[in-house]
Symmetry: C2
Subunit: 198 residues, 2 copies
């Protein structure tokens, strides 16, 4: 292996969990992919629980950075929301992988308490970010037909994760686009005259 085997293992483990589920991947899968032995992987991650905790921690850190980047790069609520949809679209990998959060939620019974707790923190973080975007939208009028930021945030996160499930079920990214079409259409990228459209 190169300089950072641990990172490479995490990368493949994340992809595999997100495409096959937590119960659908094994140390043998990782070992075969890298041409090493299972025992070597146990050196880096003694137990599968350790590995899953490392996965969710890194995922949350990275995702939070992406959200911060989106806010920095996009001034309007409409542009931020569109960028969020694009982020989830990218995370689909053409219908091969769902969000780690979705993958872990589906295997709840096999996870450690630590991971379940982190899962809740991850959702709260994303919900809070989306809520803030909708609140901004009420001010800058770049999201159409917007009245309840908090409820819209819950609905939006559910829709994005559900769109992942739909596209993954049929390995067809156009199903993601179909599910998010109306949300995208509600988003104006630039502020205009400042009056609400509906």
């Amino acid at each position: 292996m190169g300089s950072d085997t641990k990172t490479a293992l995490l990368d493949l483990a994340e992809y595999t969990v997100r495409s096959r589920g937590f119960d659908g991947f094994s140390y043998a899968d990782l070992a075969n992919a890298f041409g090493i032995r299972k025992a070597s992987i146990h050196y880096h991650f003694p137990t599968k629980a350790n590995l899953s905790e490392a996965l969710i921690e890194r995922y949350q850190t990275r995702f939070q950075c992406r959200l911060t980047d989106i806010a920095s790069a996009n001034a309007t609520a409409g542009a931020r929301l569109r960028a969020l949809v694009a982020l989830y679209r990218e995370a689909l990998h053409e219908g091969q992988t769902v969000c780690l959060c979705v993958a872990f939620s589906s295997s709840r019974e096999s996870l450690s308490e630590t991971v379940i707790s982190r899962l809740g923190m991850f959702r709260s973080m994303v919900l809070q970010w989306i809520t803030a975007v909708f609140e901004l939208g009420q001010t800058d009028n770049t999201i159409l037909a917007l009245h309840q930021p908090k409820q819209e945030a819950h609905a939006t996160l559910a829709m994005l994760e559900g769109a992942h499930i739909a596209a993954r079920a049929e390995q067809d990214i156009t199903l993601f686009d179909a599910a998010t079409f109306i949300l995208n259409a509600r988003c104006l990228v630039h502020t205009s005259s400042g009056h609400s459209t509906l």
Copy 2:
């Protein structure tokens, strides 16, 4: 066992798949629950693939009946959509189980071609039904701010399945209610004067 062991096995298998995922349950789980041996279950369902096919077939049949019942019992599009949301809410079992369709989608790699095909048929069937409801909504004006029935149907199904994932992740049915609040609010149960509200 009573008169119909096979049905009882399907019942428990369905509940277990929906709460633990397809890779998260085994013949041993079923055998222990009924106090019989694994070999006896292989008598009813020779392979796990056979069992999974029986599960999805029965699920589709039953679900389609429920949708037909909803259409019979509710005249307006708004009332039908609210009933659909209630159906999904009930299917959550207080946050313990997701829709079989969601559970299977998360374990795609472990399923037979037959089940994957049935999964697609199931989604198409539900999408078609929801689309028809939205088309009715354009006529009877019982769903607010409605413009594109087909796109709304995709978004709605994604939202319902995503709401299942959210509620399951934290075993908290109020997360389902939060995600579906706005959709419910858009639904009028009775036809009124016939003018669009927005």
